[in-house]
Amino acid sequence: MSPLDIAGFSVLLLLGGALCAMLLSRFERMLVPAAFSLATLASLATATAGFLAVLQGTNHAATVAMGLPGLPFNLRLDPLAGFFLVVIGLLSTFVSLYSIGYLRAYLGKRPVTRLVVCYLLFLAGMSLVVLADDAYFFLLAWELMAASSYFLVMYEDEQAANRRAAFLYLLVAHVGAIAILLAFGIMAGLTTGGASFSNYTFDAMRAGALSPGWAAGAFFLAFFGFAAKAGVIPLHVWLPEAHPVAPSNVSALMSGIMLKTSIYGMMRVAFDLLHGFPWWWGGIVLCFGLVSAVMGVLYALMQHDLKRLLAYHSVENIGIILIGLGLSMIFTSFNFQSLAALALVASLYHTLNHALFKGLLFMGAGAVIHATHEKNMEEMGGLIHLLPWTSALFLVGCISIAGLPPFNGFVSEWLTFQALLLSPALPHPLLKLLVPLAASLLALTGALAAACFVKAFGVTFLGAWRGHRKKEQIGEVAFSMRLGMLLAALSCLALGVLPTLVMGWMDTVPLKLCGARIATSAGRFGWLWLTPYSHERASYSGPVVFFGLIAVVAATYLLLHVRRTAIRRAPLWDCGFERITPRMQYTATAFAMPIRRVFGFFFSIREQLELISPQNHPVMADSLHFRLRVRDRFWNWFYEPLSDIAFWIARRVGRLQQGRIQIYLLYSFVTLIVLLAFLG
């Protein structure tokens, strides 16, 4: 069985599962475990297919005579597609496991069949996007993915806010889809200039050559379209709205994988379909990446809703991925193939990592919400005592996303740093100076992300319980949920500790796209040492750090505990103040205050302090109300002008619609004349 067969089999499994689920909607209690076990299986198959494809490094192609006459579906599984199949398969395996437990809460409260069906279709759609080898099939799969995820976001549709978020998502997704369609149109229509239908296959696009202007047009249309899906700033607005309202397993998939399909699209278009580009394409991608990374994390810092916070972090991480991608494009355009390969691997590695840790974090957030019925982290606290498993696993996710060794987030960020610091090799004087500044912005992003997750973890899990529910009602989540998270956490650790092996496995991808491999240089000193460029340049050893830390900590512990001293538990010292309550803890808002002050320019902040004093005496205040509203400035900067313009145009155009039949006839007449004048 070739990898493509396995992948096809898994897709068929998913589609068949969706069909059966529709038929079995009567037996929901049975449906959930069955369907998600099936999804787990299919996802494992997908991951296996991708794994094998990358390992073999060859292309597997097939044509399925389905669809419209004369337009068969073309499928292809090459290393790039394989890599993304692994990303999809791996996380969806964990999330499907998790979902078995997660959906139990919904049973009996609302019908889950729709969720199950859309979930399966969503998985199938994502796999098909990656497998498609022609524009037609690609867009079909893209729409399948977009539509099914729209219904998933809409799942709890009785609230107006959810419907609004879902609509926003649909709108942005379709604006993006139109741009992608246009990009493919340019590539298909102008490659050979003919009108033959066979131009729509990716093979034809690869073979053709576009003029530089049209190529740039096609690339940036595609970039815009994919960026809308990926949530690149300033097209990110749908993301913090849609992710919090979707069920958590769906948010995990959307943030973890679906965003990555657009990264896949960008790589496919830039490196595969449009080979050869000037450096400024990469420069622009890099700039978008930087802005997304910094702004994403800054906005994340201001959130109190756990899932909104995670959503903004997706924006940040997409930014980091784009930094690697842009850099790789810059290096490619100057013909530094091995450097380009390094940057590309950094980008891909971060893609994989982000899928895992973001999936883990969303699953963790889902578990917390599941247990506490709260979304606002200001109403949580002290959960580490109540949800020990969840909190430990969530902590792993936090450390990973904050880019701290020895977990996986660090490895990919470190690779990105290395790629950035190799920029002095570039011949362009301005790039030499500016790319290192980009590195400093990446460092800022990393540090802010750490601050943000100190806040997220600290306020949610540490301290004392702040919420309204009784502490005793909160208990650890179901086993399958913990299992899903545990597997994801273990993968995070494995990817962080053994990067050399992973890079050796995925080496065929940069070889195909950039024409160079880095595993030889990266693994020259064995699996223990990661030396991405040369060992004199930089090196890192995940295993040594991990095991060394364990060893040193253990040794210290043992040494100090030769003589056991007693540990006395005591209530918290209250500084002489009598009644210390959980509400006196530092809140998330307070935690973010210094950063809000320093970077105040980027937010539109409205602070209100209301003093309620019965005696009308400011000192004898009875209670204080502090209100804070921090908004994304992009609404004012970008979308409000845009929507104003759109409405302005719409009003103008609306005048054309007079309701009088003569006027409509006049339009037809004028159109006819114009057409005749141009065509005649």
């Binding site: 701290l404 800022l444 540090a447 301290g463 040193v552 005591a570 530092y586 210094p594 950063i595």
Partner: protein, 314 residues
Amino acid sequence: MTLHPMGIELLQLILLPLLAPAFVGWVKIVKCRMQGRTSPGLLQPYRDIRRLFIKDVVLADNASWIFRVTPYLAFGVILMTAGIIPLISVDLPLAATADIIALVMLFAIVRFFTALAGMDIGTAFGGMGSSREMMISSLAEPAMLMAIFTVSLASSSTSLTQMVSVMANGHFMIRPSLAFSLIAFILIALAETGRIPVDNPATHLELTMIHEAMILEYSGRYLALIEWAGMMKLMVFFSLGIAAFLPWGIAGSGDPLSLLLRGLFFVAKLAVGGVVMVLIETGLAKMRIFRLPEYLGSAFLLATLGMIAFFILE
């Protein structure tokens, strides 16, 4: 006879924790002399640590395992860095474990967990300390990276041993870029190790403390470990500065006599560095917290100027 590299590794691992309190003691002595006070003596930090180790531990009720793991983790991580930074030799087998960027990230782990521990108890002080610490670090990190990057440009490597050997073997050059990044590095090191003008390690005044606020609830051997780790961190930063900017006399063969000489030379450099730090601390006052962005901005500026100077002038 030459010492096996693993031996030097071990030597460094032992040297750092042992020397660190003495270094802090030395700084205190110089500072007291400068300010016209009598000093407690070089060994006072050792006595402090010992006293804390003997004492019993009092834990708050809702302290979780994070609170208890953090001291060990902080101590362990910083001890690990002692094996990576070349103090008296470049021939370290473990030096390849982390380059300078990874090293910075290792410090970040300590900070991450210390901040979490600050929030674990659930007091307002702990949260405040964590919040401020994270703000400072997020501003310091870009500047740190720029400073490091300038040095790594000169040796086209981020690996510390490589940087030391290239710099120590190259012929003498006036490098404004390195001067700039050295100043930047000093500014950042002061911020990262919580010294004046960023933080005052000697005060428990609630509105000014940052680092102390986070570890307010620690006692007994946990506090001892944290304090000790702090001392080591100060010394590690000095060693890092010495390795990156003034590496002369680090590289050399492994025979014990030369090692001893280099060790003495290293201690001398440390002592001078301590005096410089005292001069800075005596000359400046603690800053208001919201002046810090400007301070760290200046550090970033200097580091960037260093990089620009490298490209423009060298």
